[in-house]
């Protein structure tokens, strides 16, 4: 059957349009992500050497799906997403409530759906949904973010997901949402003094409270093992078989790596399985031991470059909505990096959140790649296309 001339020219036009979009992509960002993913796969191969199933192949599957998403979503202007803030918010709430009811428990937190042979972590996808929803919410109030009263609804917006995550309990992810909120409020032009006072103040208050719990046995709703994940920051010798042990072991691994590292598969801490969940939560320690300061520092610099390009996307965005979505995604990455790497080095409390593009985990990999897709989408649509 022959296509009509009109149809053919229309198809050609669409393809041309797609090529033009492709050419406008931020290739340096794509290259950076690719390098991080490849590096991550090598480290994963070493970290999960003791596991029977092939983690690298499973991880590659999600990389593939994610990559298709990056390019497939390029065609649609992200602006259409502006129209569904309520829907995204409700979808997030439904997912987070559902996981509390029908989810399965892993590592003490009820945060996974078991579908077929895979488990999915809805908290990861909700990060994107909430960013999209929150971006529209803030974009609509761009003029009204200067007083305390005006900021209150912006903060209340994030309270339900944070509380639902704490119920799992998944403290790490709830901190991610708070950090995303702060990052997006900053870019939205909220009153910086209030922001600093509010979040700087509450961080300080939290630290003082924890010291009180630690030294003076103040009241605390957390269970001892949960509390210890914070308290090891002050006293690494605390809980030597629990949180303290994990951090002590990961610090030994990182320190043992030295400048050049022990080489892939050669890390004694990593191959001796001294760290728990070393293919997810503690993969940074494996990388640091086996690739040394050179490798770990290179990874952090690659992240820095990625985030720098991400913030550039925000700056060049054609509208505030795009800038806010980009800022939300950058904030998500940044907090994951800070928390995950910081935890292994004893700078942050022990929580189980993955290192972007490196830790084993399909939900996390998909979410992070969708993040890249959105950043690219905002970037290629930075100017109204004329054709």
């Amino acid at each position: 059957m022959q296509k009509t001339q009109k149809e053919r020219s229309c198809g050609t036009a669409l393809m041309q349009n797609f090529y033009r979009l492709l050419k406008k992509m931020d290739f340096s960002m794509l290259l950076t992500v690719t390098v991080i993913i490849v590096l991550g796969l090598f480290v994963l191969d070493s970290a999960a050497a003791s596991k029977e199933s092939n983690y690298v192949m499973k991880q590659l599957l999600f990389v593939g799906i994610g990559t298709v998403a990056v390019f497939a979503l390029l065609k649609f202007d992200y602006s259409v997403l502006k129209n569904y803030p309520k829907e995204f918010y409700i979808a997030s709430m439904v997912l987070l409530v559902a996981v509390l009811i029908i989810g399965v428990e892993r590592g003490g937190a009820k945060g996974w759906f078991a579908i077929g042979g895979f488990t999915l972590q809805p908290a990861e996808f909700c990060k994107i949904l909430m960013i999209l929803s929150y971006a529209q919410f803030l974009s609509a109030r761009r003029e009204n973010l200067q007083t305390f009263q005006e900021l209150i609804p912006c903060i209340l917006f994030m309270v339900p997901p944070v509380l639902l995550l704490m119920m799992q309990p998944d403290l790490g992810s709830s901190l991610v949402f708070i950090f995303i909120m702060v990052g997006m409020l900053l870019i939205a032009g909220a009153n910086r003094k209030i922001l600093l006072g509010l979040f700087g103040g509450s961080t300080l208050a939290l630290i003082i409270y924890l010291i009180g719990v630690w030294k003076f046995n103040w009241w605390c709703p957390l269970k001892t093992y949960q509390l210890n994940r914070f308290l090891v920051l002050f006293d690494p010798s605390l809980d030597p078989r629990g949180a303290g042990y994990n951090v002590a072991q990961s610090k030994i691994a990182i320190g043992n790596g030295g400048l050049w590292g022990e080489g892939l598969h050669m890390g004694s801490q990593s191959s001796g399985a001294f760290m728990p969940e070393q293919w997810t939560d503690f993969i940074f320690a494996v990388l640091s031991e086996e690739l040394g300061f050179i490798g770990a520092c290179a990874l952090l610099l690659l992240y820095a470059f990625l985030l720098f390009r991400g913030l550039r996307v925000a700056m060049l965005s054609k509208d505030l909505y795009g800038a806010l979505v980009a800022a939300g995604i950058v904030s998500m990455y940044l907090f994951h990096i800070l928390e995950n790497a910081g935890m292994t080095m004893g700078l942050m409390p022990v929580t189980g959140i993955p290192l972007p593009f490196v830790s084993y985990g399909g939900s996390s990999m998909l979410t992070n790649l969708v993040g890249i897709a959105l950043l690219q989408n905002i970037y290629v649509h930075r100017q109204r296309l004329i054709f």
Partner: protein
């Protein structure tokens, strides 16, 4: 977007970019601190927890008798060990893991609580494996090995286990091994340091505690090997880095003959059983016997009772007994050698000695010389001989025959007999004893005087009139004066040796005591012409390939300056003991004429309160002998606590042992 808003966004993203770089910068700084500054610290920690030095316990050498019967050997066995840290989780015991382990072991004694208890007791050394159970059977080993992947920190180790192939045979000689104690470790380390060496003992080692296991520990133990292994977080070895193979210990070949040893032990047991059934010796239960080769000093058999606990003392070398009449040959030698009598001089025995304290004799009234005096064990004859020879001569010849000081046998913890109340009453011992006795007496009297002074002061205070006071003072002053003079009298009495003391020693009583081994050595010396050999238990040391690396040679400690003539007379006198009318007549009746046994019986009552119960008197029974009398080969000494008579208790043991030696017990 409006230009103003655009500008504003640019500024905000720039701020964010700076913040982002600060965060990454902090992470890199921390990374540099850990990996570039503190890397040595962490690298050594990684090494420490990865590399584990594990001991491969060396197989301990065998101990076998002279006829090749292996008494002790090391057998491979399995033990269950756990790592303390692996049993813990979040600061508590991992109940689930422990109960799974307990279920696999299937030992009703090894409960979850018991495991925790053992772990608690060993929590001081976090990485040292804690032994939960020894001697695992093969079924248990395979059950545990099958689920080893789900049991972190649990391992089954093959270790040598000391095994006694013939039950308690020669147990007191063999001794036993046990985990080294803190004090033993310190002593060994100190000793090694003095010698400028490194101690071969370390925490957790097994060490010989008593007997041969102790004396020959360094020879038996071999050299432990080591395995340097790389372990994973569960403490399970993942690869061997280096192995130093252990070197098995050397074996000991004893002078002891298995058949003679068995004969001695069963004779001790059956004699004790029969003594217990008699009213006069119903407290019997302990004793010891030693059989020596008189020509070398080899110990052919040595046993001690009771034996229900190996840890109990070896009475053959540690028990000290008053010799009773078994000492009389010494008195006879002293008298003959000092020329104060001849063997045929007749001494009249009127029933008791004529000098205070007029000690009785059980021998019938009549005339006695060396021969019938020895045969009937006449106390009058030997008191007279003792008086004539004098205590110094008795002590001198006793010492020559090896009765003073330890024999030097190659067994641990032989009694040295160096205290004032032990061994022979030599000049030094007597002085020691007298000083001690005088001091004890002084303390006693000082206390009495002090009490009187106190009483006096109290009475004076209570007195109301001057008259009464004077009266009281007079009364107490005279009492105190009496006490003071009594103190002086007692002091003098206790500081002196008295004639009666000599009489007592001459008949084997009084202040003297010897180990059964010393008695055997002394009889050997009489038998062999005056040579005091150092008795020994180990004849050969063989390396782990079975080659002889050391052979023991007889060691002459001293030669008694006693004429052959005197010895012949005393030996002949001792032969009379087993002859018609002798104290042990009939005991060796079944022996052929060419195997004559020379012997001496003895009974003694130590001062202990167990020996006088109401009107009932208990006695230790002793027996010494050598055979054949014309060309002595062996000497035997035996003590039976509460045995009542010498020939009726220890003598029966001697008979059984000699029968075995001469092959007379064949049907």
């Amino acid at each position: 977007m409006q230009t103003k808003e655009k500008k504003n966004l640019e500024e905000l993203t720039r701020i964010y970019t700076v913040l982002m770089f600060v965060v990454i910068g902090i992470l890199i700084t921390r990374l540099a601190w850990l990996q570039l500054v503190d890397t040595e610290v962490y690298a050594s920690r990684a090494d420490a927890q990865r590399n584990r030095l594990m001991t491969i316990t060396a197989t301990r050498g065998d101990i076998m008798t002279s006829d090749g019967t292996v008494l002790v050997t090391d057998r491979p066995s399995y033990q269950l060990t756990v790592e303390y840290l692996s049993m813990r989780e979040n600061g508590e015991y991992n109940e689930e893991l422990i109960s799974r382990l307990v279920a696999l072991v299937q030992d009703p004694e090894l409960t979850v609580e018991k495991v925790k208890e053992i772990c608690d007791a060993n929590s001081g050394y976090l990485y040292k494996p804690v032994v939960l159970k020894k001697n695992l059977d093969i079924a248990t080993v395979s059950r545990i090995e099958a689920s080893r992947d789900t049991l972190p920190g649990v391992s089954v180790e093959a270790v040598p286990e000391r095994t006694y192939l013939h039950g308690t045979l020669a147990s007191h000689v063999l001794g036993y091994i046990g985990e080294i104690s803190q004090s033993e470790l310190e002593t060994a380390t100190l000793k090694a340091e003095e010698a400028g060496e490194e101690s071969i003992y370390k925490m957790g080692d097994y060490i010989g505690k008593v007997g041969l296991e102790n004396y020959y520990d360094e020879i038996l133990r071999g050299t432990d090997g080591y395995r340097q292994v790389e372990v994973n977080a569960g403490g399970r070895p993942v690869s061997d880095v280096k192995i130093i193979e252990p070197e098995a210990g050397n074996s000991l070949v004893l002078t002891i003959d298995a058949d003679l040893q068995r004969a001695l032990e069963s004779a001790l047991d059956s004699t004790i059983a029969s003594l217990q059934s008699q009213s006069r010796s119903d407290k019997a239960g302990a004793g010891a016997g030693v059989l020596l080769n008189v020509k070398t000093g080899e110990v052919l058999a040595m046993a001690s009772r009771p034996e229900d606990n190996v840890g109990q003392q070896n009475r053959a070398i540690q028990g000290r007994y008053i010799p009773g009449s078994t000492f009389k040959p010494v008195t006879a030698i002293a008298a003959l050698e000092s020329g104060v009598t001849t063997d045929t001089e007749m001494i009249y025995n009127p029933g008791r000695y004529w000098i205070a304290p007029f000690i009785k004799t059980t021998a019938p009234v009549g005339y006695y010389n060396l021969y019938n005096g020895m045969a009937k064990s006449d106390n009058v004859y030997f008191q007279e001989m003792g008086r004539r020879a004098g205590i110094d001569n008795i002590a001198k010849y006793g010492e020559m025959l090896g009765l003073e000081g330890p024999t030097g046998i190659d067994l641990a913890y032989e009694s040295t007999g160096e205290r004032a109340t032990q061994g022979l009453p030599t000049v030094e011992k007597r002085q020691m004893y007298q000083d001690m006795a005088a001091e004890t007496s002084d303390v006693l009297w000082d206390r009495k005087i002090a009490a009187l002074e106190e009483e006096k002061a109290a009475a004076l205070a209570a007195a109301s009139t001057e008259e009464e006071k004077k009266k009281t003072e007079r009364k107490y002053n005279s009492q105190i004066a009496v006490a003071k003079s009594e103190k002086l009298i007692n002091h003098k009495w206790n500081s002196e040796w008295h004639a009666a003391d000599t009489f007592n020693v001459a008949i084997g009583q009084g202040r003297q005591n010897y180990t059964p081994l010393q008695l055997a050595v002394y009889v050997s010396a009489i038998a062999n012409g005056g040579t005091v050999y150092q008795p020994y238990v180990v004849k050969e040391i063989r390396n782990n390939a079975g080659e002889v690396i050391e052979t023991a040679e007889p060691v002459v400690r001293q030669t008694a300056d006693i004429s052959e003539d005197t010895l012949n007379k005393v030996r002949a006198a001792m032969c009379k003991v087993t002859d018609t009318g002798g104290g042990a007549y009939g005991l060796f009746a079944n022996f052929p004429a060419d195997i004559q046994v020379a012997a001496k019986t003895g009974t003694a009552q130590p001062g202990g309160k167990g020996y006088r119960v109401g009107n009932k008197e208990y006695y230790d029974g002793l027996f010494i002998c050598f055979a054949p009398a014309d060309d002595p080969e062996i000497a035997f000494a035996c003590v039976m606590e509460y045995g009542y008579s010498g020939s009726g208790s220890a003598g029966r043991v001697a008979k059984a042992v000699l029968e075995e030696y001469f092959g007379l017990n064949q049907p």
